[in-house]
């Protein structure tokens, strides 16, 4: 089989409002994003022959039924985070299992991650959702695992919590410039440092902001993309990374996680190098994940992110500009655009590479690196490019 590099493209994009209270079902939001993506791609529904989402959001057959898509020959419902859906679709198109895949994701502010959600009777009936904490408190399994590793990071490298605060402020500053973002209240380091602890050393500012919202993408061959209206965004290299100790409390150390597997493979597979990147999307569902993406991918050494952030801080916009040039999570990330397990990082990357990011547009952006997922068992990396 021929090399998959640059052979599959994202040709359609759809999103919905991100909000705390949509007053709608998650399925309704996903369908809105799907319809928008199909129209954006300039295709008819009967051209879609593949579907890829997550059973935890809405199963593929329900999307097909609700949208009246007549015939599909391939579908998959991998688990979150979102890079799995896009990478599976890429593989399916390249293998010929499907020609045009509708890829979708959505999040619903469920009672398991948002205590205030219990006041809404529809949310209460919908149940706790996913990524919930275990009922047994004596475990680091579940999202709890990021807190002790954040603490180990601070202790091991002897840095202060400000390193995490800078990630939160960067995301917030970018969100303030993005009307789509759900959380746009200014955030200062004083605000960050004085917030109450949720799971030490992490506060609510270190954790994604739960929203109702959805994103959708149309994925097809690059060959076919050339006949469609938008500048195609090519999937240049895509990697999943996981180790043989994929348990939150058994991971050997911060230098032996899925992130290192991703970095090794990304720089082996990609012709686009670190210095070629125009906009960077390290997943920020927890600030510690984001900090470690900079280090694992080699933007700086282990434990050096705080110094990198200081060297890269753009005082005028109160955010990161790597090398004085490359912004990070221009949409506001999971922390401020909204927590949707990473689909919004890809949405913003596509907008940037199409040149349709509005006031947030990075001039001449051609290369975007998305580093989604977490550290323990679902790390990922996707290099996207366009030729404008």
């Amino acid at each position: 089989m021929s090399d998959i590099k640059d052979r599959v493209a994202i040709v359609g994009l759809g999103t919905t409002e991100y909000s705390r209270n949509s007053g709608r079902t998650s399925a309704s939001l996903v369908l809105e994003a799907c319809i928008a993506a199909i129209r954006d791609a300039g295709i008819e529904r009967d051209e879609i022959d593949g579907l890829c989402g997550s059973n935890r959001v809405i199963p593929a057959h329900q999307v097909q039924g609700a949208l009246g898509i007549p015939a599909c020959t391939w579908w998959a419902n991998p688990t979150v985070p979102f890079q799995h859906q896009l990478i599976e679709a890429m593989n399916a198109v390249h293998a010929g299992s499907a020609q045009t895949v509708l890829v979708y994701h959505g999040n619903y502010r469920a009672t398991g991650v948002s205590r205030s959600a219990i006041a809404d009777p529809f949310r209460e009936r919908a149940g706790p959702g996913f990524n919930v904490l275990a009922s047994d408190p004596d475990t680091f399994a579940s999202p709890v695992g990021y807190a002790p590793w954040a603490g180990r990071y601070l202790e091991q490298f002897g840095v202060g919590r400000e390193v995490f605060g800078k990630v939160a402020i960067n995301s917030r500053s970018n969100a303030i410039a993005n009307e789509h973002a759900a959380m746009r209240k200014p955030l200062t380091m004083e605000d960050y440092l004085s917030a109450r602890m949720v799971r030490e050393p992490l506060t609510a500012f270190d954790m994604d902001y739960p929203v109702d919202g959805a994103d959708a993408f149309i994925v097809t061959s690059t060959e076919r993309a050339l006949d469609l209206p938008h500048v195609p965004v090519l999937i240049h290299a895509a990697v999943m990374g996981q180790t043989d100790l994929p348990y939150e409390d058994q991971v050997t150390d911060l230098g032996h996680t899925g992130q290192q597997i991703v970095a090794r493979e990304m720089w082996r597979r990609s012709d686009v190098r670190r210095d070629d990147i125009d906009v960077f999307f390290p997943y920020d569902g927890f600030t510690i994940i984001c900090v470690r993406w900079f280090e694992a991918l080699g933007f700086c050494g282990d434990g050096e992110a705080d110094a990198l952030f200081d060297d890269s801080w753009d005082a005028a916009t109160n955010r990161l500009l790597l090398g004085g040039r490359v912004p990070v999570n221009t949409h506001g990330g999971s922390l401020s655009d909204g927590g949707v397990q990473g689909s919004n990082h890809f949405r913003e990357a596509v907008d940037q590479l199409r040149g349709t990011a509005g006031a947030r547009q990075v001039a001449g952006a051609r290369h975007a690196l998305v580093a989604p997922g977490g550290m323990f068992f679902n790390s990922g990396g996707v290099m996207l490019r366009s030729d404008g």
Partner: protein
């Protein structure tokens, strides 16, 4: 010693935990205040969390085996907004640590910590037992506290 607890007794003693055939021996051990960790009877490798097969030699002769409970702190946190659990006060700080057990490099067990207001990575700890909702729960305290 009295007879070992039945499966039904173990399930009843830990109602909030997903107990199955792969980890029930560990929880049976808790009722006798013995900390049991899975060890391969063929290649002698310990592993956590409990699984039915040794990850190194793939033997299924894996036995829940008592550990000393001595080790050093590898990871720690305090949960302030933990999920509601029977026997745990809501909202209060709940200190939790993963301890590198002396039995094998990198073998960790996660449990509450007691009498450690400012834990540090590398602190020497030993096993103790607390009671929660009427059942024994393993915990760690500073070494030599007894």
């Amino acid at each position: 010693m009295s007879e070992a607890a039945t499966d039904d007794e173990v399930l009843a003693a830990y109602p909030n935990t997903r107990i199955d055939q792969d980890n029930v021996e560990h929880y049976r051990g808790r009722l006798e205040r013995r900390l049991l960790v899975n060890r391969c009877a063929e290649c002698r490798l310990w592993h956590q969390p409990p699984r039915a097969v040794c990850p190194r030699c793939w033997s299924s002769d894996v036995r829940a085996t008592e550990v000393s409970g001595r080790g050093t702190v590898a990871l720690h946190t305090v949960l302030h907004l933990a999920a509601p659990s029977a026997g745990v006060a809501g909202g209060g700080g709940y200190p939790l640590a993963a301890v590198d057990l002396v039995e094998q490099d990198g073998l960790r067990f996660t449990a509450p910590i007691v009498d450690m207001p400012e834990p540090r990575i590398g602190d020497d700890v030993e096993l103790t037992w607390i009671t929660r909702d009427g059942s024994p729960v393993p915990a760690f305290r500073p070494a030599g506290a007894a």
